[in-house]
Amino acid sequence: MSTAQATKNCITLKGSAQIIVEYLKYGINSILFQRGIYPAENFDNTQQYGLTILMSKDPKITTFLQNVLKQTEEWLSKNMINKISMVITNAHTKEVLECWDFKMQAELGDGDSDGKDPSKQTSSKQLSRIQNEIRDVMRQISATVSYLPLLDCICTFDVMIHTLQNTEIPAQWDETGAVFIQNAQAVQLRSFSTGLHKVDTVVNYKMSS
């Protein structure tokens, strides 16, 4: 009984990675919809974080995200990721138009582990509190429409994972260069934290001259 209570509000590194990957899934889909990158009829309503979030139902997009996020979760649970970038490019000219950065910062947590083994760190932060924080970020994402420039071309997107130097490249993955946006402007949105990871969301976009 006592052990059950002790583990009640306990988020492990793995759980924290799960929460973040879930946020990424909803966040990226919301961006795809809100920025009008894909046709609106290819999206379905889903309820999450007390919000209506529109999720792509294009099988190619969903499988792409599934594959990327699965690997992301694995790396996140080992604290190997610095940053995840969602890059929106012009499909014809390949010009980078917008870049959404999700910066990951490892935090120590507040569990009573000895602090030596990072995989045993825990956080006692309430899931509902984390989800409320995520909800605020999601709201801000949908509010960005009011200041981001129009993406008036056929676009595509990619997800780039900024990992540690010693990360092995799994099958079907490639190493790539950083992207940059000319005449860029950055806006930092709210942050949220699971207690083990702090996630900052930043949108970089091309200023229209």
């Binding site: 809100q34 920025r35 009008g36 894909y38 046709p39 609106a40 309503n45 309820q47 007390g50 919000l51 209506t52 294009d58 190619k60 997009i61 792409f64 995200l65 594959n67 690997q71 610095n82 890059v87 490019t89 499909a91 000219t93 390949k94 010009e95 980078v96 950065d101 709201r139 949908s142 509010a143 429409v145 009011s146 420039p149 129009l150 993406l151 008036d152 056929i154 676009c155 595509t156 997107f157 990619d158 997800v159 780039m160 994972i161 900024h162 990992t163 130097q165 990360t167 490249i169 079907q172 993955w173 490639d174 190493e175 790539t176 260069g177 950083a178 992207v179 940059f180 946006i181 950055a186």
Partner: protein, 527 residues
């Protein structure tokens, strides 16, 4: 700034080192100085000279013995792997600050791959110079953008090989309507004549352009109350007289105005969080009811009850008759409450907030106020909800309109909480009103056309667009006879639209029926 530092650094380096060796090694010495001289001098062979003449510099900088086979191989393949068109980059020479970029890259990151690239035996070709310079600039920009020294955190950037597909070629961004000035207005001629120009324009200087306030209302006594700056004015629509009701002190202002159903009494929500009651026939303040910690941006009357929604996210029911006026507080919104309406049968209260929620509260069991938990929480809007209207002929139907990020008018059945219909209006929805004479609805919009749109309900076929405002239309109110709509725009004008004037033929018929009924006392008593 960094450019100047760089130049002065350079000069220092040159002065300290007395040797004279011609132009080529200048960068070398510079590098040694900056890297404490510990670095292999052949390191940045490809670095660009300050006069940007490529061919001149590169000749002496080759180190063919340096790179192993493996290295060369790797370098050769690296650029081709770059997705997002890295290999198809077309450099803009004019915008590329070659020497600075290169210097910065070498100085603070010691980027291995860059270095490797430079050490390629074939490095004298110009492409490589451009590539490395381009890369340098890229990193600098990214570091700048990210506002952290991320270039120092050497790491890998990985991406999945099977990319997501591009949008279909036929796709056009639906957001275009939000940006485009040329959104077409279709003036579909309806079944009746609607004048599309305003009947009258009133000047409204200092009308506050704030989406979250409700600064105008039209009373049953035919008086329009409007807040301009920190004053509240009454305009008698019958006589045209203007009267100043009150003036707030500098910094304070009225945030919401609402007339009691019967007229005479005006409730004002102010910026300090209090709700004031004014008797407008005597121009006298009757009472002040506090309870909110932030400005009160929305008000709604239900006979002796006035409900107030505030920036602090709460809604309070005030019983204006009793000393303990606060009879209920609703905590259903996380952010500012900007829309508040009692249903036409007063069984439900609808509230809309900056948290994109529409809450519907049902009447409390004792008939006073509402239950403290919302009956329905509609979160389908993607932006703040300010426009709310209840259908007069279907008391269970609520219409709500979202802000810029949403642009939808949605209809809800509050009995079962279902979404009846959603229509994309292609512009921010600031206000909604149902007509009492026609099965129609009028919506007020912002960018791009700042128009009022009349829709047929429930088909939602556009009947007419009423244009004239030069900035977004913030508020609408209907005359007591239901024939005229007044709109307040951020262009500081109030415009009167005679858009719901009853059909003279139909009106005649109704009056005939009425007069017939009045004649026959017998028929009246049977009813």
């Amino acid at each position: 700034m960094s450019q100047f530092n760089f130049v002065s650094d350079l000069q220092n380096a040159l002065i300290m080192d007395g040797e004279t060796r011609g132009p080529a090694p200048r960068w070398k010495k510079k590098l040694e100085a900056s890297l404490n001289g510990s670095v292999n001098t052949t390191r940045s062979v490809l670095s660009v000279s300050y006069n940007t003449s490529f061919s001149g510099v590169q000749a002496p900088t080759k180190t063919p013995g340096k790179s192993s086979d493996a290295k060369t191989k790797k370098n050769a393949t690296t650029p081709t792997k770059t997705p997002g068109g890295g290999d198809r980059f077309i450099p803009n020479r004019a915008a590329t600050n070659f020497e600075l970029a290169h210097f910065l890259v070498n100085k603070d990151s010691g980027d291995k791959s860059d270095e490797d690239q430079e050490q390629q035996p074939t490095s004298s070709n110009e492409n490589n110079v451009q590539a490395s310079a381009h890369k340098g600039e890229r990193q600098k920009l990214i570091a700048e953008v990210a506002q952290v020294g991320e270039s120092s955190k050497s790491g890998r950037i990985l991406c999945y090989q099977n990319k997501a597909p591009a949008a279909p070629e036929s796709h056009t961004n639906p957001l275009k309507v939000v940006y485009s000035l040329k959104t077409p207005i279709s003036t579909k001629s309806g079944s009746r004549y609607i004048p599309t120009t305003s009947e009258r324009i009133l000047d409204a200087p200092d009308f506050i352009n704030d989406y979250y306030l409700n600064l105008m209302d039209w009373s049953g006594d035919n008086i329009v109350a409007v807040a301009l700056g920190n004053c509240v004015y009454l305009w008698n629509a019958a006589s045209g007289n203007i009267e100043q009701l009150t003036e707030y002190e500098e910094g304070d202002y009225a945030c919401a105005l609402s007339w009691i159903q019967e007229g005479q009494i005006l409730a004002i929500g102010n910026s300090s969080g209090a709700v004031e009651l004014w008797d407008c026939s005597k121009v006298k303040r009757l009472r002040v009811m506090d309870g909110h910690s932030a400005r009160v941006g929305s008000l709604a009357w239900n006979s002796y009850l006035v409900s107030s929604g505030s920036r602090d996210g709460t809604i309070i029911h005030h019983d204006v008759r009793s000393r303990e006026h606060k009879i209920g507080s609703l905590n259903g919104h996380a952010q500012e409450v900007c829309g508040l309406k009692w249903s036409t049968d007063f069984k439900y209260l609808a509230s809309g907030g900056n948290d994109n929620l529409v809450n519907v509260w049902s009447l409390a069991g004792n008939g006073v106020g509402t239950a403290t938990d919302p009956l329905h929480k509609f979160n389908e809007h993607q932006a703040a909800v300010r426009a709310l209207a209840w259908c007069p002929w279907q008391p269970n139907t609520l219409a709500s309109g979202g802000g810029t990020a949403d642009r939808c008018i949605k209809f809800w059945n509050v009995c079962n909480g279902s979404l009846i219909k959603s229509v994309d209006s292609k512009s921010q929805v600031c206000s909604l009103l149902f007509s009492r004479h026609y099965k129609e609805l009028i919506s007020a919009h912002g960018f791009a056309n700042n128009q009022l749109t009349i829709w047929k309900y429930p088909s939602m076929v556009k009947q007419a667009d009423l244009t004239g405002h030069t900035s977004r239309v913030l508020q609408m109110a209907m005359s007591p006879d239901g024939s005229t709509v007044i709109s307040a725009g951020a262009d500081e004008t109030l415009r009167l639209w005679n858009c719901f004037a009853p059909d003279p033929m139909a009106a005649k018929k109704v009056s005939n029926v009425n007069s017939n009924a009045k004649k026959s006392v017998f028929r009246q008593s049977i009813r």
